[in-house]
């Protein structure tokens, strides 16, 4: 499975990549912001996208809106420190399939990934 990991923090990308590797997902492509990610999705065609909210150049919510505007259906999980309910609703409305609040345990991220993929598969 191909996973696109979008976070402006190299530390956070490394942490999430380590968790994904533990889960057996080794085909992971990194992007440092929404613009960087949009330039990569065409060639990479991910099966799952993990995206942070607050990033320079293009934030996560703008990325999600632009990605969905292309008619692309890939499952997206927002992984962010934004914990307010209004933010979660905004993300879901924009087209996010699931939401993980930082800080997260490896188990919590793993569960959300499994849950999201099974939901998308069933749809």
């Amino acid at each position: 499975m191909k996973i696109l990991l979008i976070d402006d923090s190299k530390t956070m990308r490394n942490i999430q990549k380590a968790i994904l590797t533990q889960l057996g997902h080794t085909d992971v492509l990194e992007a440092s912001d929404g613009l960087d990610a949009l330039s990569k999705v065409g060639a990479y065609q991910p099966n799952l996208i993990l995206v942070d909210w607050n990033m320079p150049n293009m934030d996560g919510i703008t990325f999600v809106k632009q990605y969905r505007a292309k008619g692309l259906k890939t499952a997206i999980i927002m992984v962010t420190t934004e914990a307010e309910k209004a933010r979660i609703v905004e993300a879901i409305t924009a087209g996010v399939n699931n939401y993980v609040v930082k800080p997260f345990t490896p188990d919590a991220l793993s569960e959300r990934i499994k849950e999201t993929l099974s939901r998308v598969a069933a749809a």
């Binding site: 923090s9 530390t11 942490i15 997260f104």
Partner: protein
């Protein structure tokens, strides 16, 4: 004769508790490290000295700064637990990890401070024998923290803004 300022009279506990919860939560979830917060106390003077300090600013409904300061050995062990690999102190990856830890502690506390606040980019100071002063008229509170890897401290110099 003026009365000595007590922590109860000087600091809103609603601004302290979210940081105690967030530092525990961040290290527990992200690094698998249990943190024990000791009794907060008012900081004497303006400066704090440590080897590694992460500084982040708050603006909006809550304004001020938060400094998380570690001795070098403690920072190295906590960063290793956080990123799941050893990082050499002072390298860009190490600085980035310290910045991310501070960002996450502040970001996790932010929703519980009341009102809409924003947090700045973190800055990280690395060295020896330096002091960090938060230039706030607000009394600063020190939250001493203990971990299996050693002690560190959070310094809060934040206050709710009038009308926010």
């Amino acid at each position: 004769m003026p009365q000595a300022q007590t922590i109860e009279s000087a600091v809103n506990p609603n601004l302290v508790t979210p940081f105690i919860n967030s530092v525990r939560d961040v290290f527990d979830k992200m690094a698998g490290v249990k943190i024990t917060a000791q009794e907060p106390h008012l900081k004497a003077g303006k400066s704090t000295g440590h080897d590694i300090s992460g500084i982040i600013g708050f603006s909006g409904a809550v304004a001020g700064s938060v400094v998380v300061s570690f001795p070098k050995a403690v920072a190295e062990r906590l960063v290793e637990a956080f990123v799941r690999m050893p990082l050499e102190c002072g390298t860009p990856d190490f600085v980035d990890a310290v910045g991310e830890l501070v960002n996450m502690i502040a970001g996790s506390a932010k929703p519980y401070l009341g009102g809409v606040a924003s947090i700045s980019l973190p800055s990280v100071v690395i060295g020896q024998g330096y002091t960090v002063a938060s230039m706030s008229s607000t009394p600063c509170v020190i939250i001493p923290c203990s971990s299996p890897h050693g002690d560190f401290a959070i310094e809060l110099c934040i206050a709710r803004q009038a009308g926010a």
